[in-house]
């Protein structure tokens, strides 16, 4: 009797221990996993789905990076061997989710191959072929949106009045993704500012502008969509745009009233703190 009681106690203790240790392990493991996926400043291959989903879907096989490196256009003309490709596989120390593909434009930008070798080889669905295909179902790299080029006008010498259109010339979507805006240079009175303007609807985020930029640290650089773009929100409607107007076709009028405080408004006018 005492023996079976002992056995039961031992069994209960071991079970409790196993469950407890598993819970501890689970918490540590979850914490670590959650921490390593938090790296918003990373550029993914063309066709990559939303970053959060991409981290889930990517099976870390490297087929995209291998296709990128071994594409015909990447072979060294003299040796016939492939050069370093655009896509790298994140390794320990890169501070990106390990084993996922990414690229750094200042090292090797995306050359926007017409046959997009990196996308169709993806077995998991992390790179979505449909998102880089046109209406006829043909691959179209111009549909890619890997990121958005952003100009830092304080370091861009074109904004100083110096003539430079390196990024504009380097852009594969010449005259579409980057356009030049002319302004009179009031300082000299006889020159023109030729300012590079990036257009979000055309820019694919390939990074060719970034590597072409002549300043010490590029004044134009590609940022991932998640960090480079704002969102106006649903409640702003373009009244001059028929399509946008359709969004509020069935909207019903809601009347709201806000009670104003007479006290505070008169206070702030009289307090002398206007400036």
């Amino acid at each position: 009797m005492a023996n079976s009681d002992n056995n039961r106690r031992k069994f209960m203790a071991t079970t409790l221990q196993s469950v407890g240790l598993t819970a501890l392990g689970g918490l540590l493991w979850s914490g670590y996993t959650d921490e390593v996926k938090a790296s918003p400043l990373v550029l993914r291959p063309p066709g990559a789905i939303k970053e959060d989903d991409f981290l889930t879907a990517c099976i870390k096989c490297g087929l995209c990076a291998e296709a990128c490196q071994n594409r015909e256009t990447n072979l060294d003309r003299e040796t016939g061997l492939p050069k370093a490709g655009t896509l790298k596989m994140a390794k320990g120390g890169d501070h990106k989710l390990i084993g996922t593909p990414y690229f750094i434009p200042t090292e090797v930008p995306c050359y926007m191959c017409e046959d997009i070798p990196c996308v169709p080889v993806c077995p998991s669905g992390a790179l979505d072929q449909l998102s880089v295909s046109n209406d006829k179902g043909e691959l179209d790299i111009n549909k890619a949106s890997m990121g958005l080029a952003v100009v830092h006008k304080e370091s861009c010498i074109a904004y100083w009045g110096i003539q430079c259109d390196a990024c504009y010339r380097a852009c594969p979507l010449l005259g579409e993704a980057i356009t030049i805006e002319m302004h009179r240079n009031e300082r000299t009175g006889k020159h023109t500012f030729m300012l590079p303007i990036v257009n979000d609807n055309a820019c694919t985020g390939c990074g060719l502008c970034e590597i072409a930029c002549v300043t010490e640290k590029p004044a134009i650089f590609v940022l991932p969509n998640e960090v480079s773009k704002g969102v106006a929100g649903d409640h702003y409607v373009k009244g001059w745009d028929k399509k946008d107007q359709n969004r509020v076709q069935d909207a019903k009028e809601i009347e709201t009233t806000t009670e104003l405080s007479n006290q505070s408004s008169s206070d702030y006018l009289n307090s002398g703190d206007l400036y």
């Binding site: 996926k37 099976i59 291998e66 596989m89 390794k91 320990g92 084993g99």
Partner: protein, 267 residues
């Protein structure tokens, strides 16, 4: 030469496979491309690791058909050749832990008093299930963020970075910590292949009549609890944790062990 036949074959297979993967990236070879997570054989046949696939499915992401088909192909392949044949014939970490094991024997660290058995061998099954739960909770495949297997494989194909530290850590753990610590106690991938191995076709068979009970096989076996029948019964090694590495066959001087087809009818 006779007593390292399977050891040599395994090293040739392991290194050969790594060379094929390496060449796929470095020279554009079209034989075996990708990594263990998902590969492409001859540019057409998809292969995928079943446990990695399960982790992604656990997150709720609907994977591409290529990966699902690839996982089925791999699962079937190891159902035939023995589940953990992956561990001893393919996995590159096996070379690291085998080296650690050899060093333990040379340094006489195999004695009980210096073998810290603070983990049980079935911990790996808990870790395997836990990996799926963590994947579901956090939303990314949990084992893949720290798997030394793919870190080592990607290291060889694309470059190691600081990932080499993980490989070194496993080596040290196996030499100075727990004997067969990683492969035999912790690795959830090995655990998943153990489950496939429980039913697999090609197994090691023991001949009790020929055995002289020298116990060489038990010394060299990385999972020696699976050899419970030695000098007792003439049966197959049916435990899924057997890696089909064939070291026991190599070291047996009595021809009492061999690979054979498992008999499903006889219990």
């Amino acid at each position: 030469m006779k007593n390292i036949k399977y050891l040599l074959l395994r090293r040739v297979t392991q290194i050969g496979i790594l060379i094929l993967y390496f060449g796929a990236n470095a020279y554009g070879w079209n034989i075996l491309a990708g990594t263990f997570g998902s590969s492409l054989l001859f540019g057409t046949i998809p292969l995928a690791d079943p446990y990695t696939t399960l982790q992604v499915l656990a997150t709720g992401f609907v994977l591409g058909a290529d990966v699902l088909l690839g996982a089925l192909i791999i699962a079937f392949f190891y159902f035939v050749v023995g589940g953990r044949a992956f561990c001893s014939w393919v996995c590159p970490i096996n070379m690291v832990t085998d080296l650690a094991n050899w060093l333990r024997r040379k340094l006489k660290l195999d004695k009980d008093e210096v073998n810290y058995r603070f983990i049980k061998r079935n911990a790996r099954y808990w870790i395997m299930v836990l990996g799926l739960i963590v994947s579901a909770v956090v939303g990314i495949s949990a084992f893949e963020v720290l798997s030394p297997i793919t870190i080592m494989q990607r290291g060889i194909i694309f470059g190691f970075g600081s990932g080499i530290a993980v490989i070194l850590a496993i080596f040290l753990f196996d030499v100075f910590g727990v004997k067969n610590g990683w492969c035999g106690h912790l690795c959830p991938l090995g655990a998943s292949y153990s489950l496939i191995g429980k039913a697999s076709i090609i197994r090691v068979e023991h001949d009790h009549e020929a055995c002289t009970a020298c116990m060489e096989c038990k010394v060299v076996c990385p999972e020696n609890h699976v050899l419970h029948m030695i000098n007792k019964k003439s049966i197959h090694v049916l435990d899924g944790e057997c890696t089909n590495c064939g070291r026991c066959i190599d070291v047996c001087g009595d021809d009492a062990l061999k690979f054979s087809i498992r008999n499903y009818l006889k219990k």
